[in-house]
């Protein structure tokens, strides 16, 4: 077994060395009362959560103490040298810092507090604290000795400071046995020093004897470990510092990762484009960059979001997606950003010219590319990669995306048990839920790591591997991610596809399942894009739904798809012949032309009105719901309803006599509700289905229990038999994709309220925290418990948000 490192040890300059002088108008009794009643316990209780690691306050005896010697000393150790300042981001610390007791003479007490290394030559500088040993130590544990002394009367100030330097220098060169840390500060008229040793209950006074000899000691004592008997909200008067004069407060220190605030990392948004051509172009840019930068062996697959070519591609794709102008820079432009953006466009367009077998446009675009001085040979590789990928996938050959139907001869052969995971979850299983995790970011790995702290029996993912589920992306951002995190601990990973996997036809997604790399034993093998995972006691089952098959164009109306292609192939700009169609329609799998015999069998630009399951898959899930005696939880990528996104179709309008129209009260359709999915599975809601967890939106949505539109019909046959009430619908697509506060993910565009208004992800540095869920089962017939966790920025500590039961 490996020895655990001392997780609370801190750097020697990660401490504030306080020397306080009592205000002249304050009596010593009031001073001690203020410090003991509020200040000292307040420090000890308000600050450990945000980085205080050790706190050793001392009341200096007043008897025979010269006025120049401090009335109080304290050491406050922080997790990092920056933690003290960063801690002010928390209200608790701001409260502590705003304590205004008028007890200190702040003019005299306002002294340098952060120690530095001992200089190479003496004397030491008055009032500057020094650390004598440059190594980490945990001052709350082990033994400490503290000296407070007045300058010896026979030593002049300069001699005193010189002699103190000599002592300190010798100490640093040859530390006494059993000492791992030491701090020293001298004023012109006093010295304070502390030594620390890792072993408990040791008398370390001898280590300070040399310094003590330079002073008339006022205090020479070992701070006594002192545990506070009460918390912030307990009734107690505080500490009696006239009795507990020299203490080492035993703080309640949370996990080190919690108590070590780090400067916020600059986060670059992951721009995910829902238009398949743009997503694939971005995939190619990222892949080529990963190889170029030597990041192709990393788990993340090296998405370098800040690379100039990636930023250029984002700008280009945004302009296309939003149909905004993309200005053509002058050939001699010095605006490199603008040129790279335009080059991204030109190379993407050139690839499509090649796909269209139009050498004229290809040559024309190539000539434009040559004009710019900021060209980059990587664009050429990206162009080649795009061309290669483009033809590898079924859509682009006019085929269907990959799907393994239980009915198909090459898959389930009519066996309804096809797709059922043979392996069973334990009756008291813990299951981690993550969503939209296939990003390759360190946040994704952090979320998985955090989830594993709870030792789950399985991880379930509600889909999406960015940007378009290419082999490279699937290998790195899904398989390697899971293998490196969950695989080592033997935890199986089950997943449904999102829309992004289907941008490349789910080919790589199914290969990843087939590789066996997502699971740890053959019985766990997931054979299809939908699955059924049950507990050993038949108390619970999880049904994974493949909404990606019909959902890959969900947010992109056919007209927008056409606009993208027209811009790539038919636009008036930059075409040598002034805007004529250069797209040979016989090669164009997207532009429907009557009479074209080569039209694809499936027109992927005709998005279904709302995402639904394939009918054969509905039959399969209904079979599982009907036969299972326990409770079921559904998992899908796409939403059943949303407060923010349109995922349904509008309510039918009835024409009125005056020419106006009124909503049809009998119609269940609402633009924020997927009535297609509800119609497919709603008959089992409540009786069989206890909850449905989905992703797609990169947010956590703990919606109101039993949500259904308030004006839905209630007593019609459909209402009673099909549109039954789902007890819990939850959005859990917040495991990796960064979301900024300005994106307003909690804007309630549609009337789907949260269960409670405050149940939202927190913000760290302007970015919404990412997170996961943990479902804990307690056997058949018992409610399950679902806990929602978030991670603050890059800190992998799971922070609880809310816990509720699923019944």
């Amino acid at each position: 077994m490996k020895a655990k490192p001392d997780r609370y040890a801190v750097e020697p300059n990660s401490v504030y060395v306080w020397r306080g002088f009592k205000a002249a108008a304050t009596s010593y009794g009031d001073f001690a009362s203020f410090l003991g009643g509020v200040f000292v316990p307040g420090c000890a209780l308000l600050q450990p959560e945000v980085g205080l690691r050790a706190y050793l306050p001392t009341m200096v005896p007043q008897a025979n103490k010269p006025a120049a010697v401090p009335d109080q000393t304290a050491l406050m150790f922080w997790a990092t040298p920056q933690s003290h300042d960063l801690a002010t981001q928390a209200i608790a610390v701001r409260i502590y810092q705003n304590l205004h007791g008028d007890a200190y003479d702040m003019v005299r007490s306002k002294l340098p507090e952060v120690p530095t290394a001992l200089p190479g030559s003496g004397p030491i500088q008055a009032e500057q604290p020094y650390f004598l040993l440059n190594q980490k130590a945990d001052w709350m544990k082990g033994s400490v000795h503290h000296l407070v002394g007045a300058r010896r009367a026979d030593l002049a100030q300069a001699d005193f400071l010189n002699a103190a330097y000599q002592w300190a220098s010798g100490f640093a060169k040859q530390p006494p046995d059993g000492i791992d840390a030491a701090l020293l500060c001298c004023g012109n008229d006093y010295a304070v020093a502390w030594v620390h040793g890792p072993a408990a209950n040791r008398d370390l006074s001898a280590a300070l004897a040399g310094l003590a000899a330079l002073t008339a000691p006022v205090l020479n004592a070992a701070p006594q470990p002192k545990k506070l008997p009460a918390g912030l909200w307990d009734s107690w008067p505080g500490l009696d510092l006239t009795k507990d004069t020299c203490i080492n407060i035993q703080l309640k220190r949370p996990s080190p990762s919690v108590v070590a605030p780090q400067p916020p990392k600059a986060t670059t948004p992951v721009q995910a484009f829902e238009v398949p051509h743009l997503a694939l172009w971005k995939s190619c840019v990222a892949e080529v960059l990963a190889y170029e930068l030597g990041l192709n062996h990393t788990t993340a697959g090296g998405i370098d979001l800040d690379h100039p070519l990636m930023r250029a591609t984002d700008r280009y794709c945004r302009s296309v997606e939003r149909n905004t102008p993309l200005p053509k820079p002058a050939a001699d432009s010095t605006d490199e950003e603008a040129v790279q953006t335009y080059l991204s466009y030109l190379h993407h367009r050139r690839a499509h010219a090649k796909i269209a077998q139009n050498p004229e446009i290809e040559a024309y675009v190539a000539r434009q590319i040559q004009e710019y001085k900021f060209g980059n040979p990587l664009w050429q590789q990206m162009f080649v990669q795009y061309f290669k990928y483009y033809w590898q996938y079924p859509y682009h050959k006019g085929g269907e995306p990959k799907y393994r139907s239980w009915q198909a001869a090459d898959a389930g052969k009519g066996d309804l048990n096809y797709g059922v995971i043979k392996w069973r979850l334990p009756a008291n299983a813990r299951i981690a839920i993550v969503g939209d995790i296939g990003t390759g970011t360190d946040v994704a790995a952090g979320v998985l790591w955090a989830a594993l702290e709870f030792n789950p029996d399985a991880i379930l993912h509600v889909g999406d591997v960015y940007f378009s589920g290419t082999p490279f992306e699937t290998r790195h951002r899904l398989v390697e991610l899971v293998r490196s995190v969950a695989g080592k601990q033997g935890i199986p990973f089950f997943t449904v596809p999102g829309n992004h996997e289907y941008f490349t036809g789910a080919v790589s997604f199914l290969r990843a399942l087939d590789s066996g790399d997502l699971v740890t034993e053959p019985s766990q093998q997931q054979s299809s894009s939908y699955f059924c995972l049950q507990t050993e006691d038949n108390g619970w089952q999880f049904l994974g739904l493949d909404t990606g098959y019909n959902g890959h164009y969900m947010n992109v109306p056919p007209a927008a798809q056409q606009a993208v292609l027209q811009r790539l192939h038919l636009g008036a700009v930059e075409t040598p012949s002034g805007g004529d169609s250069h797209w040979p329609t016989k090669f164009n799998p997207y532009l429907s032309r009557p009479g074209d015999a080569n039209l694809p069998v499936k027109d992927p630009t005709s998005a279904p009105p709302q995402v639904t399951l394939r009918p054969d898959e509905v039959t399969w899930h209904q079979d599982k719901l009907a036969k299972f005696t326990g409770r079921s939880i559904l998992l899908s990528h796409h939403q059943l309803y949303s407060a923010l996104q349109q995922c349904g179709i509008g309510q039918k309008q009835l024409p009125q006599a005056d020419g106006s129209s009124q909503p049809d009260p009998s119609d269940f359709n609402r633009v924020w509700v997927n009535t297609g999915l509800w119609r497919q599975l709603g008959n089992a809601f409540g009786d069989k289905v206890a909850a449905w967890i989905w992703g797609h939106e990169h947010n956590l949505g703990i919606y109101q229990d039993n949500y259904r539109p308030a004006d839905w019909p209630t007593n019609t046959p459909d209402a009673l038999q099909i549109f039954k009430t789902l007890p819990k619908g939850r959005c859990a697509g917040h495991s990796a994709i960064p979301v900024q506060d300005v994106e307003a993910p909690y804007a309630q565009k549609y009337p789907v309220p949260l269960k409670s208004a405050e149940l939202k992800l927190g913000l760290t540095g302007g970015w919404y925290n990412r997170g996961f869920e943990l479902i804990e089962l307690t056997g058949a017939g018992n409610p399950a418990r679902i806990s929602y966790f978030q991670l603050a920025g890059a800190d992998p500590t799971p922070l609880p948000i809310f816990v509720e039961q699923i019944e």
């Binding site: 209780l45 959560e49 945000v50 209200i91 304590l99 009734s235 939202k760």
Partner: protein, 255 residues
């Protein structure tokens, strides 16, 4: 144990705060202190000490506000006066209380909070009163708040009598869930609680009756229900407080 349920508390279980900014603290720093420390700390440090509702308002910086009118007002309800007093046995409350000195003018008791008495037709300077002797839950429902200054041409006694008469009228004629008032030599602060079920007519307000007897600066506020998104130890820049901010803080009570 916590609860979000509506629970009325006695009308005298409230501290009525009238705060004056330290003259050495610029008004923008005053707003900053309120938003980053005081308003959230009032809630977060005192929920577990029994705070029941908290409604702060910031007249500081409003055009024309006389210096004699408080820069910040607040009502802080507890489930009883005893709960309030017991709070000082807790470190959190002691700590929170000691943060005021660096922000408010506390010399000569100028910034102060007091418990109210039942209004009986007359007013005493700096003694808050409540108008309706019935329990109410001030975190829920609609609060209207009026802050006013005495006009220079009105003598303090006439100001006091005119306000008392208006309050008597409100007490007799206006059906409110609760009302609290306090005058000083030069100011009036008044809060009323109205409650209406959705779809029912808007309940009456007593504010016009008070405004009718005021000839000096006055400003009405409707405190906005406001949640704190974070806890004591979370990273958070704080609330946006500015001239005229008025909040009815929403939180889960500790029972």
């Amino acid at each position: 144990m916590t609860s979000d349920k509506v629970k009325p508390v006695p009308p005298n279980a409230v501290r009525v705060w009238r705060g004056y900014r330290l003259p050495t603290l610029p008004v923008d720093q005053f707003y900053s202190k309120l938003g980053t420390v005081f308003v959230p700390a009032t809630v977060l440090m005192q929920i577990q000490a029994g705070l029941y509702s908290y409604t702060p308002t910031v007249p500081a910086g409003l055009a024309g506000k006389p210096d004699t009118v408080p820069d910040e007002t607040a009502i802080l309800f507890w489930d009883s006066q005893e709960t309030y007093w017991n709070g000082f046995t807790k470190l959190a409350v002691r700590t929170y209380t000691l943060t005021h000195g660096g922000v408010y003018l506390t010399a000569n008791n100028q910034s102060r909070a007091d418990l109210p008495v039942l209004f009986s037709g007359t007013l005493t300077a700096e003694q808050p009163v409540y108008l309706f002797d019935k329990a109410a839950d001030w975190m829920h429902g609609t609060i209207n708040h009026l802050v006013a200054g005495r006009a220079a041409n009105v003598d303090p006694t006439a100001f006091q009598i005119a306000i008392a008469n208006a309050l008597s009228s409100i007490q007799k004629q206006v059906a409110l869930e609760g009302a609290i008032a306090c005058i000083g030599q030069d100011y009036l602060v008044y809060w009323e609680l109205r409650s209406a079920a959705p779809g029912t007519p808007t309940p009456p307000t007593g504010i016009p009756q008070l405004q009718a007897v005021l000839s000096g600066w006055n400003q009405a506020f409707t405190p906005a229900p406001t949640f704190l998104p974070i806890g004591l130890w979370d990273e958070w820049a704080g609330m946006d407080v500015r001239a005229g901010s008025s909040f009815n803080m929403q939180f889960t009570r500790w029972l």
